[in-house]
């Protein structure tokens, strides 16, 4: 559904001539989307609640100062975006802000770098303030409208910070809990093709790296799905329900320290790593042995 919205926005924002040609179909599509949205909202089980984001004016003010010092050079005044390829943040939402700040992706060093995980630059309070400020950007911008400069947010539905349901551990666990088995199933369906079955990471085209998932916290995994840190796609509420997101996040957490029956887990990296160990350690020792035994008469 979010994809459809994204498409719709792009179409509607196109040049005037295109807009006129597309007006009719767009109207029809809007109707369809509205109907679909209605069904999606009423048809699925209760959506997971989002974690609260501070709406405290002093937090927002503190966040504004941090933003001016560390982010504005790229993301522009009031987050309208920059001409250097930095996206606007008005519609980015609290999940994106929290994810990008806590994984240390922002502030970025250079805009041509892929934003990857680093040590987080801000402490918990600063993070709370910045997130509060970015979550408040739609209000700020409607009060003081400025032209948007940067590309639009990856997920312009401004997702909030998702909360992750607990694992079902036995009889007595709260209702709404999720299982690792569901997590495994949705993970191998949606994520393993890029992040590898055991979360070891991989490679996309044009030099984009798919990071390993072994450092991402429960919340960060859930945020990543909702935000879709480019070049990763957005998994909106139409694709994965809140419960499915929780199950995947819990499974990724399990992959940090999976059942390593059978010894050292080199096989998380697949057969190439195994071959290396087999040849160097296994065959290497046997060669040494035959070297020691073999030349004796």
């Amino acid at each position: 559904m979010t994809r459809t919205l994204k498409l719709l926005r792009r179409v509607l924002r196109g040049p005037a001539s295109r807009r006129r040609i597309l007006a009719g179909p767009a109207a029809v599509m809007a109707l369809g989307v509205a109907a679909f949205a209605f069904m999606a909202v009423t048809g699925t089980a209760a959506q997971g609640a989002n974690a609260p984001v501070s709406t405290n004016a002093s937090d927002i003010a503190a966040g504004e100062q941090l933003f001016a010092a560390h982010c504005q050079s790229c993301h522009g005044v009031n987050g309208v975006g920059g001409t250097n390829g930095s996206p606007e943040l008005i519609d980015a939402g609290a999940a994106a802000a929290d994810f990008y700040i806590t994984t240390g992706r922002m502030p970025l060093n250079a805009t041509n770098n892929q934003a990857l995980r680093h040590h987080s630059y801000f402490n918990a309070t600063q993070t709370r303030d910045l997130v509060a400020y970015i979550a408040d950007l739609p209000a700020i911008n409607s009060a003081h409208p400025l032209p948007r400069v940067g590309e639009e947010a990856f997920n312009p539905t401004s997702p909030g910070i998702p909360t992750v349901a607990p694992l079902c551990t036995g009889p007595g666990t709260p209702s709404g809990c999720v299982t690792l088995s569901d997590g495994q199933r949705y993970y191998s369906l949606n994520c393993a093709q890029c992040h590898q079955a055991a979360g070891a990471g991989g490679m996309l085209s044009k030099g984009d790296i798919v990071p390993s998932l072994h450092n991402a916290s429960l919340t960060q995994v859930a945020e990543a799905m909702r935000v879709g840190p480019s070049p990763m796609p957005v998994f909106g509420t139409g694709q994965l329900s809140a419960k499915q997101v929780s199950a995947i996040a819990q499974y990724v957490q399990y992959l940090h320290n999976p059942n390593n029956r059978g010894g050292l887990g080199i096989s998380h990296f697949g057969p190439i790593a195994e071959g290396f160990v087999g040849i160097v350690i296994g065959f290497g020792v046997l060669m040494l042995a035959s070297r020691l035994i073999g030349n004796r008469g």
């Binding site: 390593n260 010894g263 296994g282």
Partner: protein, 536 residues
């Protein structure tokens, strides 16, 4: 030097042997053969034992394989997995999977010693192929494939092929995500064969991919077909070695018509037995300490799921690499398109194996050498052959790297496309460069006569008639004199052979642990004087 005790011990041993042989002879009348067999001579060079590493890995594979076969269920039928906590893998509870995958989960989690057996089996396969590859290199670089051993070269390659296919069919049995992905690739490659491809693929799989007949069929292939083929080929291989006797490096007292080394009984049997135990130990340690193919993390195979970094086992990696590197060219003629995977998946390995099978003939043409040989070449003395071998290794290495491009790219932070491009050039450049370096190195080594990796150990101290001493090991620049000093010298440091004897104080090459044997190969003597009938 032999001492009195050693001699007495040898006499005592022979007494026991004779009693044993008499006992056999009374019943079977076969002690002549057994006596001959026990006295068979095996050369004392360590590289000759690598073939044995391969053989013993096979033994481990048979033993562990039988255990696994007791619990494996060759069925693609859909089941729902119901583990109980502590007995099974909970994160897959309630999932649909094939019965085959479920049985491998059971082997890993419920069957006593099941997982260690599984892991030993897989590690043994990995080490087996490494040993075969090394063994093949020894045969190639030392010219052991030359007349009269061309047949054994061919049998050896058939063994290599069988073991590769056996390994791949084994990798496909658990029906996890990796197995299924590998089979999907193979299905497409089979389909790409012109004219017969689609029929062949549907015949093998019994239906469209993935179908339900392949798993039981693979089980038959993995359990009976290839193991029997390997046992048969191995028997032929060893019988031929028995008949033709071993080759050996040139050395003191070694000629084209004799062979020196240890008798099968007791020296060689003890060496070989020690190696067998070490192999069981090493494979057991690998199986117990290092995880291999954690199928529970890959999950059951569904045709609509795939994992990044899916690769085959290392010895199939070069074929995967070949498919990854092949450009997206299209070939059309007479209105038919030859599907792209045919070239890297069928043609490339076809050409590679044809050259390998034909190598004894090619080598014969290159060196115009039609004579039978029982003494090996030193690799440096045949620079061209060595260069070809090193080039081939570079080629295989490049393709194997290509099979790991996603991991490499992630580690090196290098764009995938760049990596592929580099490796595509590498297919041509790496063998040429590596071959040229090998060629030059051979020539340089010929000039200095030093051992390429080992520094000379020990040496021979000579006292000349007028009382002067000098060591032969470190005599630089006096290579022309080798014959004058007797050829003992150049081979002692040439292959590190005498060094070991000197170290353990066992005395000269004629010490009592050694024996010499005539090679009763008619071809050997005859061919040296006469031209080969098949020659040009």
């Amino acid at each position: 030097m032999s001492t009195t005790e050693e001699r007495l011990a040898a006499e005592k041993r022979m007494k026991y042997e004779r009693v044993g042989l008499d006992a056999v002879d009374d019943r079977l009348g076969s002690s002549g053969f057994i006596q001959k067999a026990l006295d068979k001579i095996f050369p004392d060079h360590w590289s000759f034992m690598v073939g044995e590493i391969a053989m013993y890995c096979f033994v481990v594979l048979l033993i562990t394989g039988v255990y696994l076969a007791l619990y494996y269920v060759p069925s693609a039928a859909d089941v729902v997995y119901h583990p109980t906590p502590g007995h099974g893998y909970m994160p897959l509870a309630g999932q649909h999977m094939s019965e085959a995958y479920q049985s491998v989960l059971n082997i890993s989690f419920n069957v006593r010693a099941g997982l260690v057996m599984r892991q030993m089996h897989h590690w043994a396969a990995v080490v087996f192929m490494a040993a075969i590859a090394f063994h093949l290199c020894r045969i190639f670089f030392t010219g052991a494939f030359r007349r009269p051993r061309e047949t054994n070269w061919v049998i050896g390659l058939l063994l290599l092929l069988s073991v590769m296919l056996e390994g791949f069919s084994g990798y496909s049995l658990p029906d996890d995500l990796l197995s299924g992905t590998g089979l999907r690739v193979v299905f497409s490659i089979v389909e790409s064969i012109p004219f017969i491809g689609t029929w062949l693929a549907f015949d093998l799989w019994g239906s469209q991919f993935p179908g339900s007949s392949l798993i039981p069929r693979l089980f038959v292939v993995h359990e009976f077909l290839f193991p029997l083929a390997i046992i048969g080929l191995l028997t032929a291989h060893l019988m031929l070695i028995w008949r033709q006797k071993h080759t050996d490096f040139p050395g003191p007292g070694k000629t084209e018509t004799n062979i020196r080394g240890s008798r099968l009984w007791p020296q060689y049997a003890i060496k070989s037995g020690a190696l067998l135990m070490i192999i069981f130990g090493v494979l057991g340690a690998l199986g117990g300490l290092f995880q291999i193919n954690a199928i529970w993390l890959y999950g059951p195979y569904n045709p609509y799921t795939v994992s990044a970094g899916a690769q085959p086992d290392w010895y199939v990696g070069w074929l995967d690499g070949s498919v990854r590197l092949w450009p997206h060219w299209e070939f059309r003629s007479f209105g038919h398109e030859i599907a792209n995977p045919f070239f890297p998946g069928v043609l490339v390995p076809g050409i590679v194996f044809t050259i390998m099978f034909a190598w004894p003939q090619i080598d014969r043409l290159i060196y115009k050498d039609h004579v039978a040989h029982n003494l090996l070449d030193r690799p440096r003395d045949k620079p061209f052959r060595t260069a070809v071998g090193v080039g081939a290794l570079a080629f295989f290495t490049d393709l194997t790297f290509a099979s790991g491009t996603d991991l490499l790219g992630n580690d090196l932070h290098m764009p995938f496309e760049r990596l592929i491009e580099i490796l595509q050039y590498g297919v041509f450049v790496a063998p040429l460069v590596a071959g040229a370096i090998a060629y030059k190195t051979c020539q340089a080594l010929q000039r200095t006569d030093a051992h390429p990796i080992m520094k000379p150990v020990g040496g021979i101290l000579i006292r000349t008639a007028d009382g002067a001493y000098h060591t032969l090991g470190d005599e630089h620049g006096a290579h022309g004199d080798h014959d004058g000093h007797g050829h003992a010298v150049d081979d002692h440091d040439g292959n590190g052979h005498a060094a070991a004897h000197d170290d353990d104080g066992n005395g000269s090459a004629d010490g009592n642990g050694h024996a010499a044997e005539e090679v009763d190969e008619p071809a050997a003597g005859a061919a040296i004087s006469g031209p080969d009938p098949s020659g040009s």
